[in-house]
């Protein structure tokens, strides 16, 4: 029996072969990206990768030089009028006039919509009330970001573009913002955000899109991106001066007969170790047994999965640019 498809909504964003040049230099060169409806899609990439330009093409702020962009199934240029009420935008540079007070700005933006969110509860929940009497000019970076986020969602959009939403925020603000994004998602809002923060992408995103040099170089769920099958690595933390050679020998003894490569145990510093080779349940048992016999407590153990940051750095390179 065929599976029932969910209520058919077009993808929040569908980009194919997008090209955008500034003064002849291609900043986005043949980018393809799909952000499913009702999900959080994180666009991750180094500075200058073309993230903001891509988002701005979706917001109708830039006209693509080639390729197609569809937002909620519509053309951001041709259908701008019908898209504007349905799409919320948080720009990287805020877009807030400097002489205005936060609640004034929110009330003004609310007046552009027929049934906006109520300003006061939204301001309360993002902690804006505490600096309501300060003009934008005197707000900290994190405070401006929270105000800009409130501005993006005041019109109850179906889709929100957030360009580096938690840049410059303290951890408390960041978690408040993340909670809000999760709640928006649970209401069915589609969210497309750009970020440098791996934990932001890993915690929030249903889909992560890694962009470099104007094109997508990897795309998938955090799980898909971080669990490469042949990359079997075991990481554990224990006391830094344990005998790695002795441990590796113990792990080799524990494995079943076969052509598998010998284990290598490497100290990454600060008591973090990686074991490479064939990782099986027997390997874990052998590790635990060896540690027990040496009276060593393992404080953390994970298998087979690289962090998103490992994947990101492997794909985009470790050199500064």
């Amino acid at each position: 029996m065929p599976r029932l498809s969910p209520v058919s909504r077009p993808p929040a964003v569908e980009i194919s072969a997008l090209v955008k040049r500034y003064n002849g230099r291609a900043v986005v060169s043949g980018l393809d990206l799909t952000a499913p409806a009702g999900q959080v899609t994180a666009v991750l990439g180094p500075n200058g990768a073309g993230k903001t330009t891509t988002i701005e093409c979706c917001e109708g702020l830039r006209v693509p030089d080639a390729g197609t962009v569809r937002v909620l199934g519509l053309d951001p240029q041709r259908d701008a009028r019908s898209l504007r009420p349905r799409v919320g935008v948080m720009l990287q540079d805020g877009g807030l006039p400097t002489g205005v007070r936060p609640l004034e700005m929110l009330r003004h933006l609310a007046s552009m919509y027929a049934t906006p969110l109520e300003v006061d509860p939204l301001a309360e929940r993002l902690g804006i009330t505490s600096f309501a009497r300060t003009t934008v000019r005197r707000l900290s970076g994190g405070q401006r970001q929270r105000l800009a986020l409130a501005a993006a969602i005041i019109g109850r959009p179906e889709l929100v573009f957030l360009d580096e939403p938690s840049a410059g925020m303290d951890p408390q603000s960041r978690h408040a913002v993340w909670d809000l994004i999760r709640e928006l998602r649970s209401e069915g809002v589609s969210i497309v955000l750009t970020t440098h923060l791996m934990d932001e992408a890993a915690d929030l995103a249903d889909t992560v899109v890694i962009v470099d040099a104007g094109a997508v170089i990897a795309q998938g769920s955090v799980r898909e991106l971080t669990s490469a099958v042949d990359d079997s690595t075991l990481r554990f933390s224990a006391e830094p001066d344990l005998d790695a050679v002795s441990l590796a020998r113990a792990l080799d003894d524990g494995r079943r007969e076969g052509p598998e490569a010998p284990h290598r145990v490497q100290h990454e510093g600060d008591g973090d170790f990686t074991v490479s080779g064939s990782i099986t349940p027997a390997t874990v048992a052998a590790l635990a047994g060896w540690c027990a016999s040496h009276d060593i407590l393992v404080s953390r153990l994970s298998i087979g999965r690289r962090t998103l940051e490992d994947v990101f750095l492997d794909l985009t390179g470790r050199s500064l640019r």
Binding site: G99, H108, I153, E187
Partner: protein, 257 residues
Amino acid sequence: MTAAPLPVGSAPAPALRRVLAQAGFETTMILRNGEQLLITLILPVFVLVGLTRSSVIEIGTAGATRIDFFAPGVIALAVMSTSFTSQAIATAFDRRNGVLRLLATTPLGRGGLLAGKVLGVLAVEVVQVVVIGAVALGLGWHPVARGALVALLAILLGTAAFTALALLLAGTLRAEGVLALANLVLVLLAVAGGIVVPASRLPGALAHLALLLPSGALGECLRDTLMHGALPITSVIVLVAWTAALAWGAGRMFRWH
């Protein structure tokens, strides 16, 4: 930070309400900003009182009283300060801070933003005309009543030309550059642009050149209508030509980023 419901359901407010909201927002921003208020209201009143109550500038007034001679030009100066200098600076900084782009993504859109700005400028000009007019009347000004309607049309036309120039600068240059240039141009046109001091009293070639500047044309329009009740055809044509050229230029060259 307590929980608040976030139901989805987006629809725009009616277009008129959006534009009026933007106009009110722009007006408040201008009238609240100290520097802007200095340029748009305090400076013209100061110039008016200074020119009428002292003889710093020796000038033949062709039989008119000094207040009748200078009041129309000071109103023209005030219109120029709001529609050009103040608007150029505000728009340039809003452009740099991303305000124009953010508003363009809301239901207001680019067209609504422009309409809101123009209405905001006109609202500030109403305040200026009322305040400067009241001060002038207090100083003994007797404008020709039958010229008032054409004078208002000239103010609208001058506003269009100067707002287009403001947007042309604000949309093409860096904010700091606009800040310097818009103030410099205001001072140059105020002194030698035929706006407060009529072109005919300016030295040499300026006497002819100033008539062709938007400042000179607006000044002539208001003096012709409010001093003599005359219809300043040539100056109206000059303003129309400037408006068309500057609006075309601003439309083509304005960059949102």
